[in-house]
Symmetry: C2
Subunit: 285 residues, 2 copies
Amino acid sequence: MKTYLDCIPCFVRQTLDAARTLELENETTSMLLRRILGLLQQLDWSLPPPVIGRDIHRAIRETTNDTDPYLRRKITDTESALKLLPEVEATIADSNDPFPTAVKFSIAGNAIDLGAKTGVDADINKTFERALTEPVDKTAVNRLEKAILNAKSVLFLADNAGEIVFDRPLLEQIGSSKVTVAVRGSPVINDATLDDAKRSGITERFRVLSNGSDTPGTWLSGCSREFVHEFESADLVIAKGQGNYESLSDQTRKIFFLFLAKCPLVSEELDVPINTYVIQATKRK
Amino acid sequence: MKTYLDCIPCFVRQTLDAARTLELENETTSMLLRRILGLLQQLDWSLPPPVIGRDIHRAIRETTNDTDPYLRRKITDTESALKLLPEVEATIADSNDPFPTAVKFSIAGNAIDLGAKTGVDADINKTFERALTEPVDKTAVNRLEKAILNAKSVLFLADNAGEIVFDRPLLEQIGSSKVTVAVRGSPVINDATLDDAKRSGITERFRVLSNGSDTPGTWLSGCSREFVHEFESADLVIAKGQGNYESLSDQTRKIFFLFLAKCPLVSEELDVPINTYVIQATKRK
């Protein structure tokens, strides 16, 4: 997905939101905003939004002199999600149809996103409640289930810390012998890194791979050679989160995107209302 | 009123909105956005928002190579408002209380604002209907009426083209012998200039004065000496529109501001909901 002109004011607003989330002083926020204005002026707007987001968050980390400014929040979200996990697992086990229910909880977890539009409900308990009642596209779920059954290897591109806990039941459904989980190479916003995967207990059960990049999405040009090889050779790729959609939607290989549509432009592209649970496959070209 | 950090992303969005209103090509819009990003990076953010708006709209006029890019729209809005005027005048004449009704129509006209937040209803017919039912602060209206009665000279700072037509009944209530209408010195957004005042029939009935400035508000440092003299010597100043409020709210002289609260920060400052009909006097210091 390309960066739309509408993304430009949104990037400036996201910077301000980030500064507020990180409780920066007004003077630091002002300095940061000026820096981002200059950065946006210079950047190539034909890149997908997460690549621009990467540069913005590099600037935020430099300005705050903090390599992982969202660390505290990531730890809290992981802990809150882990507390809910037994209940989530029990709900899935008790349901008539465990696979769609696991998919729903995985998408529900995508609400834990500190990079996207303000106003998306990031309260983990509400996230859990919503997952129980939310409708999903049954045909798409069936296609995903079939694709997983037919695949010998599945590469699962994780998204945020906390969210990755809600992915665990789906990962179990895919099976630890089949699935590899990819995380960001280093901290960016609250995206899950190897450390966050460890804190979530994911590394104990699944093979976890760093993608070698600090893009809040999956921008192959910035990923490690090892990751790109896995991406190309996996029978199936499942990509969580809007950032992964934005950076991979133009790929020709088969990918299933699972995410909560948070941005009006993404919603418009997909012709779904804001806040929809999206299960979307790349079109075969 | 100072420029808040929240105004920075809003200025970028307003630029995009302006480009869309003016139906600029994507490439021109992109060039314009880059220019505004650079401009915002350099500007002094301690100035009131309309002064920053002035510089943004100077850049828009330069980029479009058009000294009055909103001219067509200003003419249409004036014509639409003039068509409605007889009905507005009849409604006011027939009402039990002509003064508050005239005030309401004047504030209602402030919906015709192409510089403020997208989504404010700029449909002139709806504006008219809303004015009939909208509640206003009766105490404030009474104070304003008393202040007008006690004043020998009233300086009325007009806001937008089209809107100025809806000000006519209020100007008649004040009386042509007492009131001077001030308009912008040259085109900026759809703000009323001397030409727009002429097209609205205002110049035939009232003394109209240019403020000598292209700020979408009243920034005294940028106004002509003649205007500043009038501003200082008038017994009473009535200032229409949010831009005039933003640029004059810190003044110590007595001013009555009449406008529709369109911006969340202004609403917050005044502790009123968005879209409120505001009648606000400067506090005596």
